[in-house]
Subunit: 339 residues, 2 copies
Amino acid sequence: MTTIKDIARVTGVSVTTVSRALNGYSDVNEKTRQKIIRVSKEMNYSPNTHARSLVMNKSKTIGLLVSGLVKSSVKDNFTLQILAGINQFTADSDYDLVLFSTTSTKQREKTYSQLCKERRVDGVIIQGIRTDDPYLLEVVESNIPCVLIDIPINSNTVGYITTDNVEGAKKAVNHLIGLGHKKIAMMNGHEFAFVSKNRLEGFKEALVEADLPIHNEWIVNGEFSEEAAEEKALELLTEHPDITAIFCASDLMALGVMKAAKRLAIDVPNGLSVIGYDDILLASYVTPALTTISQNIYEMGYGAAKQLVHTLEEGAEPNVITLGTELKVRDTTGPCLRR
Amino acid sequence: MTTIKDIARVTGVSVTTVSRALNGYSDVNEKTRQKIIRVSKEMNYSPNTHARSLVMNKSKTIGLLVSGLVKSSVKDNFTLQILAGINQFTADSDYDLVLFSTTSTKQREKTYSQLCKERRVDGVIIQGIRTDDPYLLEVVESNIPCVLIDIPINSNTVGYITTDNVEGAKKAVNHLIGLGHKKIAMMNGHEFAFVSKNRLEGFKEALVEADLPIHNEWIVNGEFSEEAAEEKALELLTEHPDITAIFCASDLMALGVMKAAKRLAIDVPNGLSVIGYDDILLASYVTPALTTISQNIYEMGYGAAKQLVHTLEEGAEPNVITLGTELKVRDTTGPCLRR
DNA sequence: TCCAGAATCCAAAACGTTTCGGAACCACTT
DNA sequence: AAGTGGTTCCGAAACGTTTTGGATTCTGGA
């Protein structure tokens, strides 16, 4: 493996000059620079990033800490879209992306900051961890620049990108109300997710604004899982058959709710309107196609990477980005046929 | 950031001893080892991998070179499943995963080996690149250990993992033949994919074994794209209305074919049987649900990582792994109603 | 008492790069 | 002739680790 020393030897200059030539400094004669470049091409040189990182004390690497990258969660291509967005940005920058996984036994052995410090990543993007994850605390305490996805924590080293979940939820519920629904339930995620909190808030606000009562027993947690949501919906719809619409905090849970409706021989949308959240790929492919609140997940990934690199390069304080949402009306919502 | 030197200073021993203590060498007194461990915990020490990699000349990092990680290809969660598999393995090993993207302008600037050499990855997994990709040549020529997914190249540094595509294709076509179909077309991918070559081979073999003629004009290329396949199928079905079944080399293309059938008002499966390949997530969710050849994509990712790490650790020569396939009969194939 | 061998420790070199602080040289100006 | 300023180069230190090849001390047996 050719090093800078080899090139120095061959061209007859010092390693300093080779380094400075290759890095475009002005204090090297154009002729020698050309010679050095030529020789380093001939010798197939490429710099050793480890040596460089060691002395420069930065690695041009950003870490991605996810939790949704396991076999079972392949249905939920949220993570894939985030990744695609991040990848799109980093591919055009000179940063590399290393994947940290929180799904493993490593999580228990190594702390978040250890992970980051060992690999000497310059910054981190975090997606899909729960608010009760011990990693989260460490993030805020450590001084590694960090962009969170859908977790509203802001300090001088950590920023976040999210969508307006309150507004999104209101859009969804208002759509149902506009269709004449008055008995609307909510399938929420779990209490350890900020999005759940916000979507619940939007749900309630929309009801209040429409002068509809809030039935707390109509608000259940489906853990963001298709199966759990199916079970919970089964209970809910059996105990409260007068419910005419369900707002779900994720599309995956909406699918579960639809399965439950099917088991109870309730027609969607005529017997029950269902609206999801996320607009995952499956939403437009299931039958009937799922009405949902769409968020540009790819854009979130891209934006997260962009923001992180920006704070890394410019030393700017990370800030907060909120993206909009869009109601996608498909076939699982219809006018309320009961009173 | 605490270093080994700091610990040496505090504990009153040399850096050598600290290093050897932390790395579990036997020539350090158990008492001093405990002291060193205690102090390094107190000082929140974590080793600098760059320094370590520099001197050890290996990085405990494997690279993943993919091409399917762009916005448009989010439907195809093949890549996600591969990634999940790899991630599952690396998470339990002490290797990290860094993502190389081939979708960018970087591709033109930097060669494959430059990418690998710069980052000093110990090995690489490659997925989703075409056989005419210039990177592929470099892979074989470079001496970096490498595992290819679905690309049959084998040398003393490169191995591959794949499924039995000939057999899988035969299974698919035999299924159609068993349903009474005699006029079977094929929607293939493109000539720069080994899987296309093999699936075509299996297609032909099955026809020959059943004494059915091969119509070359019934074999078209859909570029592994839903849209292209739709267009090609439109032409094919218009020009040759006697075709009763189509074997598609990917599920995504099968979806395109189904759209074409819909546009031509051909009922699936009664007017046309369609069978796909891959068993992507969507296959079981579309209506009618897609009959397909299932391959365990997750397992391929896991196997690739396992094999790579194995050759890295044991110095073993990489070899060839072939996984099985499975026919999943769903609703897009039915008995031939014409003669 | 002396010696062999085990146990425990350490100094220094090495990995490949960047960068600080100057050195050497040349061409001008005064 | 002396000083000034610009251009082009370089030696050496530094980054944080591992490893080589001993050095030192201790233990037990002859």
